[in-house]
């Protein structure tokens, strides 16, 4: 047991078996979390070459904020100390490319974030709301007359993908190239026969990203890609392979996570129709706190790996330089010391200091995108299909929650209604013109006002 002021008996002498990549971890998440938190909120597991597992809220908080002793570095070229970045174990393909600034330490990491912040701040994101609403409207219109929708395939995959591409400065009609590549690479287990298809999808996405970088270097157009090709990182222009890693991070962060949050929230609301109706009725008072509660409970990105960069003692445990650590945001979010009745959803929860966007200097840079897109999608679902019910038989969760706690499919039914506008393809053509003509993808320092969309 750990207490506030005593140093742990060496947890390495009492290791736990922790493997978050197994389906059992998903099924037993609540029990595993309770067991770890009550017995060893900082545990040592022999899996994947041996690593620490932090599950207690206080422990995760203190560790995550100890940037002076923790490194995110992924030293893919063996130029520094050989650290392996934020995934445990590191996936084979990550050996080739560093995972953007999430696998960097300051000051490099800080330069990237400073470059991108003016595109991703709350003020920057609020400019995009009319476009987000219009994409969600078109997605719903594609299905509204039939009374059937797959909330993942037909809505929650589409809106985050289109918005992310628009913000990057990539034509939004290309969302299909990026969409399946981004999701399949997360939900396909490493040993699956489907891996060959995933590799092909990834190659197509990588080729389009490389082409986009070259195009924008030649003929600048506003967006995140433009910001990155013009950025000075440590006084130098970043090389293309590093930029590809950063862009892949933005896509990975922008696509699958918001989809996962939205799908899980809609599934829960369908299972609790009285709560669904209450959220719709009292949305002005409830939508913000309900969003934070869905974030806490479903933590789309369940954790991050780190490497200790020095011998240290944190939260009562001694660590050695080079040791690996898994910070479980998802488990920290269920700590009864901080969250009363942590395994229930309370849409009005107070004091909800969840860590679903991470803690410390690596706080999810897209958190404002995620919240905004989630709220706008859910609002339109509540408005236009208020009696929706998801089909539990057709709902398909990711087999494991080691990387993302997501869903592949979530079919639902509702009372049909009338269309209110154009379908998705036509809408995306219109919106591309709006993005280009109004230069929506400029940073908030250059362009202040919201998108203007005539319908």
């Amino acid at each position: 047991m750990t207490t506030d002021d005593t140093v742990n008996d060496d947890p390495k002498r009492n290791p736990v078996h922790f493997d978050r990549h197994t389906p059992e971890y998903r099924h037993e998440f609540q029990a595993v979390t309770q067991e770890l938190q009550s017995k060893c909120p900082i545990a040592w597991s022999e899996t994947y070459g041996g690593h620490w597992v932090a599950s207690g809220n206080r422990e995760v908080f203190e560790l995550a904020r100890s940037a002076e002793f923790l490194s995110n570095d992924h030293d893919v070229k063996g130029e520094r100390r050989g650290y392996q970045g934020i995934t445990i174990p590191p996936p084979p393909r990550a050996k080739a490319v560093r995972g953007g600034f999430l696998e960097m330490d300051p000051p490099e990491q800080r330069y990237y974030r400073q470059t991108l912040n003016p595109y991703l701040s709350p003020a920057a994101i609020s400019r995009w709301i009319p476009l987000i609403d219009e994409v969600a409207r078109a997605c719903i219109d594609e299905n509204i007359e039939s009374g059937r929708i797959d909330f993942v395939d037909d809505l929650a995959n589409v809106v985050p993908a289109v918005l992310t591409l628009a913000m990057m400065g990539i034509p939004v009609r290309k969302w299909t190239i990026y969409n399946e590549a981004a999701h399949a690479s997360v939900y396909t287990p490493p040993n699956s026969p489907d891996q060959a298809r995933v590799v092909e999808l990834q190659k197509a996405m990588g080729a389009d990203l490389a082409m986009t970088i070259a195009e924008i270097r030649q003929a600048p157009r506003p967006g995140l890609v433009d910001a990155l090709v013009r950025a000075e990182i440590n006084g130098q222009s970043p090389p293309d392979d590093e930029l590809l890693g950063v862009l892949a991070l933005l896509i990975g962060g922008g696509f699958d996570t918001t989809t996962a949050l939205t799908a899980h929230a809609l599934e829960w609301l369908s299972e609790h129709p009285a709560e669904r109706d209450r959220l719709s009725r009292d949305r002005k008072a409830l939508l913000d706190s309900a969003t934070e509660e869905f974030l806490r409970f479903y933590a789309p990105a369940p954790g991050d790996g780190r490497t200790f960069s020095a011998d240290c003692e944190i939260a009562g445990t001694r660590f050695k330089e080079g040791e690996r650590l898994w910070l479980s945001w998802a488990m920290a979010n269920r700590d009864p010391q901080v969250f009363p009745e942590p395994d229930s959803i309370d849409m009005e929860r107070k004091g909800n200091r969840h860590s679903s966007f991470g803690l410390g200097i690596h706080r999810c840079i897209g958190s404002n995108v995620a919240r905004t897109v989630f709220k706008r999608m859910v609002t339109q679902v509540l408005d236009r299909m208020p009696d929706f019910r998801c089909d539990p038989e057709g709902a398909e969760h990711y087999e494991t929650i080691g990387v993302i706690q997501g869903m592949r499919h979530l079919p639902g039914t509702f009372t049909p209604g009338p269309r209110t506008g154009a379908g998705l393809d036509e809408t995306l053509e219109t919106l591309q013109r709006v993005v280009d003509e109004q230069r929506l993808a400029e940073p908030v320092t250059v362009r202040k006002g919201p998108a203007r969309i005539d319908r």
């Binding site: 904020r65 701040s121 709350p122 107070k350 909800n352 200091r353 803690l359 404002n368």
Partner: protein, 63 residues
């Protein structure tokens, strides 16, 4: 009641301004928080306390 945001701790989670928009404002550039007015009026005290309790980085202090 006085309220203060530690700029070294704040990472721009934005929850304080969501809970207490009359007390906190967010940087247009990176969403980091600062207080609009250090002195919190009596009718805003509950909001200020809730902002403190909601901050993931524990960056807000009241005195």
């Amino acid at each position: 009641m006085k309220v203060r945001v530690d700029p070294e701790r704040c990472q721009g989670h934005t929850l304080c301004a969501m809970r207490a928009p009359d007390i906190f404002e967010l940087s247009e550039i990176d969403g980091h928080s600062s207080v609009i007015k250090e002195e919190v009026s009596d009718d805003q005290q509950d909001e200020a306390v809730e902002a403190v309790r909601s901050c993931p980085e524990r960056a807000i202090f009241i005195s």
